[in-house]
């Protein structure tokens, strides 16, 4: 008993040794910055032109400034709306494609080719992708030109001057960039399900639809939760696509201004106080959202 225990400890030691690089980098690059962010958020500290203002301890004044304005809620709502507009079609399309790709009875040809193709948009830099869309959908751009040539429109439609067309463009870009990634994840999840279960269901007379909803989906839940959380965190951090598309303005009327774009506004003058406070608030939001998702997925077990 005693000897076994000691062996286990000695064996465990290797585990800890292998963990050291991660823990050290995590401490230096993640945990310490997290605490200094909180520390910084308690100071007035920014540049006015080339003059440094502060740092001066102001307590929670930065939080009061942020939370009393009400703008923060608007930007949070913008972020969530645009994220949902992209995520719902994304998960539906990915489920469908994943189901097709992973179903051997369909005998699809060239799946490997299509798997590569749908992943390709993700390889383009988000800002380049956004710039491309900006050009495509500008007033004199090819999309307007095409719509006018087809006599669908009489004059150019100002895509970036209307709230919902701007949001849709951002959501659409996120969708295009990420649906391939999600499809591959979900497909991996589907291929991991024991084929015996599908056969058993078929033998019992289940239709393909029933198999999908009653066998595939429940067994896919861990992967779905993972997709949801990573996409949620990605959504909260949404920045480059709307930033480039709206030239940092979040126009029209800041309806496409996301939380991180707002954070970026404070970095113009190196406003570490307000920026830090905003980051801390974002941290708690992300933590709460993640916990909620975990709770939801747990309760059904």
């Amino acid at each position: 008993m005693n000897i076994d225990n000691r062996k286990a400890v000695r064996y465990n030691r290797w585990g800890y040794i292998f963990l050291i690089p991660f823990v050290v980098t995590y401490l230096i690059f993640n945990l310490i910055p997290l605490f200094t962010t909180f520390y910084n958020s308690l100071f007035e500290n920014y540049m006015s032109g080339l003059t440094q203002i502060g740092p001066r301890f102001v307590g929670l004044a930065n939080y009061v400034t942020l939370l009393s304005g009400g703008e923060l809620l608007t930007y949070a709502a913008n972020t969530v709306i645009i994220w949902i507009m992209g995520f719902i079609p994304q998960i539906l399309i990915s489920l469908l494609l994943g189901a097709w790709f992973s179903d051997p009875s369909l005998r699809l040809k060239g799946t490997r080719f299509f798997k590569t193709v749908i992943y390709l948009p993700n390889l383009i830099m988000a800002s380049a992708f956004s710039m491309l869309f900006f050009t495509l959908f500008s007033d004199g751009g090819p999309v307007n030109g095409l719509l006018m040539d087809l006599q669908i429109l009489s004059g150019p439609y100002k895509f970036l001057s209307h709230v919902w067309s701007t949001r849709s463009l951002i959501a659409g870009m996120n969708l295009l960039m990420w649906f391939g990634n999600t499809t591959i994840l979900l497909m991996a999840g589907m291929l991991g399900i024991d084929p015996a279960l599908f056969e058993a269901a078929q033998v019992d007379g289940a239709k393909p639809r029933q198999i999908f909803f009653h066998v595939t989906l429940p067994l896919l839940r861990p992967i779905l939760v993972y997709t949801l959380i990573t996409s949620l965190i990605g959504g909260v951090q949404m920045f480059d696509v709307p930033q480039v598309l709206t030239n940092g303005s979040g126009n029209p009327v800041r309806s496409s201004m996301t939380l991180i774009m707002y954070l970026n506004k404070h970095l113009y003058n190196k406003n570490y106080g307000l920026g830090g406070a905003l980051s801390v608030i974002l941290f708690f939001c992300t933590a709460i959202l993640s916990m909620m998702v975990f709770k939801l997925s747990e309760s059904k077990e």
């Binding site: 995590y26 690059f29 993640n30 945990l31 910055p33 997290l34 200094t36 962010t37 520390y39 910084n40 958020s41 500290n45 920014y46 540049m47 006015s48 032109g49 080339l50 003059t51 440094q52 203002i53 740092p55 703008e71 050009t135 500008s138 007033d139 004199g140 751009g141 100002k158 001057s161 209307h162 709230v163 965190i233 951090q237 030239n247 303005s249 126009n251 029209p252 009327v253 800041r254 954070l263 506004k265 970095l267 113009y268 003058n269 190196k270 406003n271 570490y272 307000l274 920026g275 830090g276 905003l278 980051s279 801390v280 974002l282 941290f283 992300t286 933590a287 993640s290 916990m291 975990f294």
Partner: protein, 454 residues
Amino acid sequence: MKRRLISILVTSVMATSLISACGSAGSTTIGDEATPRSATIADDGKVLNIYCWNEEFKSRITDHYADYEEVDATHGKIGDVSVVWNITPSDDNAYQNNLDATLQKQSEAAADDKVDIFLVEADYALKYVDTDYTVPVADLGITAGDVADQYQYTKDVVTDSNGNLKGLSWQGTPGVLFYNREAAREVLGTDDPDEVQQYVKDWDTFNQTAEKMVDAGYHMTSSVMDSYRVYSNNVTSKWVENGKINIDDNIMRWVEDSKKLYDMGATGTHALWSADWSTGFYPEGKVFCYFGPAWLINFCMAADTEGSIGYQGGWGAATGPQGFFWGGTWICAANGTDNGSLIKDIMLTMTTDESVLKDIVVKDDDFANNKNVMNEMASSSDYSSKILGGQNPLGMYCAGVESIDLSNLSSYDSGCNLDFQTAITNYFEGNATLDEALDLFYQACVERYPELSY
């Protein structure tokens, strides 16, 4: 359960690390900028580092500074000193961000890495001129007599609060109205500059002419932003008065006039420099006029591209409703430079040598910063601009440059102008009421300059 909670917490800590990493960079505090330092200028440097935001100054040096030899796109040579061009575009403030960061490290940087020359624009010149990062030109050995023939406003822009002149420019940038001659003939029945001027002589007439243009299928201007400078240069108060943001009446007049023009379809809301804004450089764009100084027409309006109006010499110049100036590039010497006498020579050659300045006018259609040269060339028939269909616009510039008034310049101008245009676009496009749009402006301005209130 407890363990799971901890794991969730740790995961979310990791997930937000990206966000927090941005915010926490502040822990390294930059040295106190307020402490005054005396100017240090040395003379034996082997590398001349020049910071600027586009190719304009480089092409001026290449063409007009005799000792300069080009090595490659970002390197050159003057004698045995190698010249390094550090070009950062000014989009999204990138130029200033880069310059600020470099200047703040100037005292610790190795001699060959120190900034020697940097360029500034009028909108933010005071931000640099009013600090010890710039050296008075007197310390370089340039006397008031050397620059006596330069236009006073070009000196006012770069004079600090103690009266020291801290930069020089080779160009003056009085603006005029450039009109599309073909459109003028078609709609107004004439393309003679004096007669066209009668149709744009003040804002009321300008707006009436706009109606005619709309009826004939033309846009009066490409964007509401085109006329912005003309109004904003004729203000009677500053953007910031006693720490409070202040919107001048003339700016509000721009809003009112522009809204009318936009609603009748006489103009758009494109950002300056965007592809949509530039369509009017070509005949198919159907734009009647642009406002701008000499550099706009020679440097920005696609005059070298076949098929453009400029290429065909299809523009004309008229004084327009009000005088204004736009842009302009000033050469500043950075504190701590080790190329003092070379900088002095570059400044004197490029901004005071009359033959060089004449050459700049002839070759580049620029407006040079020298009263004698410009008055002489304005009255001579030797000079005419090809882009302007053979017109000599210099007299117009000479008259305009005298009316430039810089008493309402502030160091907040670049940010305020940008934020105001962005916010008010929402009003033009009908997405916000005037008050909502103004609120957006105040909000954006306070984000940019937290020390201000409204």
